[in-house]
């Protein structure tokens, strides 16, 4: 049976560019959230963000690429380059039709769409927007699939290419779906990951309108507080991560460094409410069970959970219930953490960024902490690894996500050779 392994990784997250800076931040339990700087936050309820300090030119993009690409595409392309280099793949020796792309994003090129809208509508004054000022790449911004196009061009992929857009679980679903392409022999190599650059006024207005974001504007560094009794919502972030998924025997034959194996993936929908969650976590629990079944693992095999931990009360209780339901007593023993406490919630990208964090946690045998967790919510009574990273022996990590639209996803990663011969 064909299986997907991870042989390369590129990551761009708040708090430092690249894989090493990312891990340093997580291991130190340091928060990268801060006051929003990319536009004037004054009219908005939430004025917080987790921004990536990103200079496209320093990151190796040409002037032409920078002008063509939305910020989310720029992130994805830079991560793709880093991931390919990390994998040691020589793409000139690979059949391009066996290379695929499965990229995730929840809101696509929203930032560019909004910027162009402002110009074409004269700041909202004209419903009949002025088409004569439309930039050449505007249609590319309207269709989010453009993000996958840019990654495919970067990798020279001519196999199956698509964008997965299941809201805030996109980053898990894109990797899960990418692994399926390898398993069913549609591709040997898949660039799988997700990107999001949603820090624009319309995004803030959206989340303000439903009060899902934190308004703890006086204390930006401690605003993202998953599982803490005082938490008051999401801190919006941005970033990307791209993994090189490779068919296992192919990776072994070329002597690639296998960083982790994808051993299980499950996804379910709560069919309940577009933004609401039932407190019992029933469907997330089922997604976890599906992933465990695929991996043929008992709940006790899970050594660490990377939680969704978005910092809303309903989420934290929902997934705490889901862990208890799916893992039973083991839920009380397994260390759980939310790195959104440090890098915010980058919507569709976060699932892939968190998988990158899981790969690094396996490598270092260290569980990153849940930063800012000082006053535990009595209804969230599991081990959320508050404040400080913890040395911990790990073979298998579970990462979960939950999103608008009712999506509940679970991915299981294993250290190479630990789950299967």
């Amino acid at each position: 049976m064909r299986r997907a392994v991870i042989t390369g990784m590129g990551v761009l997250a708040p708090g430092g560019v690249g894989r090493d800076a990312f891990w340093k931040l997580l291991a130190a339990g340091q928060s990268a959230t801060r006051a929003l700087t990319v536009f004037d936050p004054a009219p908005f309820r939430s004025q917080l963000s987790a921004e990536v300090d990103f200079d496209p030119r320093a990151a190796g993009l040409t002037e032409r690429e920078t002008r063509r690409m939305d910020r989310a595409a720029q992130f994805a392309v830079v991560c793709t380059r880093e991931a390919l280099t990390d994998s040691g793949l020589d793409l000139s020796r690979v059949d391009p039709s066996r290379v695929g792309v499965s990229l995730g994003s929840a809101v696509g090129c929203t930032t560019s769409l909004e910027e162009e809208y402002r110009v074409l509508s004269d700041e909202g004054r004209q419903w009949l927007v002025d088409h004569t000022y439309g930039v050449p790449h505007l249609y590319g911004y309207m269709v989010p699939s453009t993000l996958a196009v840019e990654v495919a061009w970067q990798a020279g992929a001519e196999g199956p290419v698509h964008l997965v857009s299941t809201g805030c679980t996109s980053g898990l679903d894109a990797v899960g779906t990418g692994a399926r392409l390898i398993e069913e022999n549609a591709a040997d190599i898949v660039l799988a990951g997700a990107t999001e650059a949603p820090l624009s006024p319309i995004t803030y207005a959206c989340f303000d309108a439903i009060k899902a974001t934190s308004a703890n504007n006086d204390d930006p560094e401690h605003a993202s507080r998953p599982f803490d009794a005082r938490r008051d919502g999401i801190v919006l972030g941005e970033g990307a991560a791209v993994l090189v998924l490779e068919e296992e025997s192919r990776a072994r034959a070329r002597g690639a460094r296998i960083q982790a194996e994808l051993v299980g993936y499950g996804q379910r929908n709560n069919a309940f409410h577009m933004t609401g969650l039932r407190p019992d976590g029933r469907e997330m629990a089922e997604a976890i069970r599906v992933a465990l079944r695929e991996a043929r693992l008992d709940p006790t095999a899970v050594d660490h959970i990377n939680a969704h931990g978005s910092g809303t009360k309903q989420n934290d209780r929902h997934e705490t219930a889901a862990f208890k339901d799916s893992l039973g007593d083991h839920a009380r023993r397994v260390p759980i953490s939310s790195i959104k406490s440090m890098i915010g919630h980058s919507l569709g990208a976060i699932g892939s960024i968190e998988l990158a964090a899981c790969v690094l946690a396996l490598e270092h045998q260290v569980v990153p902490p849940t930063a800012n967790l000082r006053v535990p919510d009595p209804e969230c009574d599991l081990d959320y690894v508050p404040l400080e990273a913890r040395d911990h022996r790990m073979d298998v990590i579970l990462s979960v996500g939950s999103g608008f639209g009712g999506f509940q996803s679970a991915v299981l990663l294993a250290a190479p050779g630990t789950v299967r011969p």
């Binding site: 809208y117 002025d130 088409h131 290419v161 303000d208 439903i210 379910r268």
Partner: protein
């Protein structure tokens, strides 16, 4: 592996709001392309589009769904309702996680988004609708269908512009094979608002011919680009075994699929069209001679048409297979196009008629293409190949059988 049966079809298209209405429009060559009616398009170079003019969501579903959704999602909900009814399938009567929902999305809730951005910039953040986040994003339709029908299986959303609708069917096929009893699958798009049209104009593939009957003419010597449209289709798919067990009517089966991607334009490498068609045939376990009709993508941009005609010739031999582009009657529906082409192909198989490409009259000899013109062609159809290309290089192909 049991083949995948299609047991339900729902259509919201410029050519009609049921498979029957759509089919009679296709047979009669009755176009849904008309002057744009949703806003004053006089100042735009494109003034015609394929529109579902008498579409009314209100009354057919609870009003809260209307308030929370863009037109593209309303159309998706209507088509999903009809498809489930056609299949006589109620997810609520099946085991809890037995039904999946997979939609293609090409540009999300464009009109809803434009209205809310107008409020934001004209009045401020507090004027933005609490439903903007869930109406605008690409996952809106999958989420709402899941809620409306209690479908708690996996829910997928794929974006590959016009190719996405076929890719969605491939994902649904995998889910039915691996973990669910049935899937609701398809797509819709409705971007005929001023900002949506303006964005589409920048693709430089839109026709600026503003006579509805001459605007979109795939494979014609005077092809001038495509016309945008709105709408789409939803299907119910399940394993043939399951469909037979419950005595469902099988409209046809999905036998094969493949997806590929065109190399970047500056590489000079050949398109993925030929290989993708060949791989879809391989996946179906049939050869080119087993195929009786190709539903082509038909961009109506001369360079794209020439590419596609050449690839079809390479796979099937010059003039070796009947080719048709019924989407000439609807315009390109983006995420909705793949599903609607599958519906048309299933009906063509049922009736033994290959639809004609109504707007096209003069196919260049160099294309060496047996494009069905003037009127439908009576011909038994054993297998149909449906082809789609998405902006940026996406290619997808599905093989259908009886």
């Amino acid at each position: 592996m049991s083949a995948l049966a299609i047991t339900g079809m729902g259509v919201v298209s410029p050519t009609g709001q049921s498979p029957d209405q759509h089919w009679s429009s296709v047979m009669e060559g009755r176009s849904g392309i008309r002057p744009i009616g949703r806003f004053d398009a006089a100042s735009y170079p494109v003034r015609v589009a394929g529109q579902v003019e008498d579409y009314v969501a209100r009354g057919s579903m609870p009003s809260r769904f209307i308030r929370e959704t863009d037109r593209f999602t309303q159309m998706g909900l209507s088509a999903a309702d009809a498809a489930l009814q056609d299949a006589a399938l109620d997810p609520a009567e099946l085991p809890e996680y037995a039904v999946a929902v997979v939609t293609a999305s090409s540009s999300g809730g464009t009109e809803f988004g434009q209205k809310e951005m107008e409020r934001l910039y004209q009045h401020g953040p507090s004027w933005v609708s609490p439903y903007q986040s869930i109406a605008w994003f690409y996952a809106a339709t999958s989420g709402q269908i899941s809620i409306r029908h209690g479908a708690k299986g996996p829910a997928g959303v794929l974006c590959a512009e016009q190719a996405g609708g076929l890719d969605a069917v491939a994902l649904a096929r995998r889910l039915v094979r691996d973990e669910v009893k049935a899937a609701v699958v398809g797509g819709t798009d409705a971007s005929l608002c001023p900002y949506g049209l303006t964005a589409q104009l920048t693709s430089r593939r839109l026709s600026t011919v503003n006579e509805p009957e001459r605007a979109y003419r795939p494979f014609d010597a005077s092809a001038s680009g495509y016309v945008p449209g709105e709408g789409g289709a939803m299907l119910i798919v399940e394993s043939v075994d399951e469909a037979r067990r419950r005595g469902a009517r099988i409209h046809g089966t999905v036998l094969g699929h493949a997806a590929g991607f065109d190399p970047a334009p500056w590489t000079g490498r050949p398109s993925a069209l030929r290989r993708t068609m060949e791989r879809a045939l391989d996946d179906a376990g049939i050869g080119p001679r087993d195929v009786d009709v190709v539903f082509a993508d038909g961009m109506a941009v001369p360079a794209d048409d020439a590419d596609e005609a050449a690839a079809i010739g390479q796979v099937f031999g010059g003039g070796g297979v009947a080719v048709t582009v019924p989407k000439a009657l609807t315009g390109r529906l983006h995420a909705g196009g793949g599903g609607l082409d599958l519906v048309t192909a299933l009906l063509a198989m049922r009736h033994g008629r290959v639809p004609h490409t109504a707007a096209t009259t003069d196919v260049p000899g160099s294309y060496d293409l047996d494009l069905v013109l003037d009127e439908p062609r009576r011909h038994p159809i054993r297998h149909a190949l449906v082809l789609a290309r998405g902006h940026g290089g996406f290619v997808s192909a599905v093989v259908l059988g009886a």
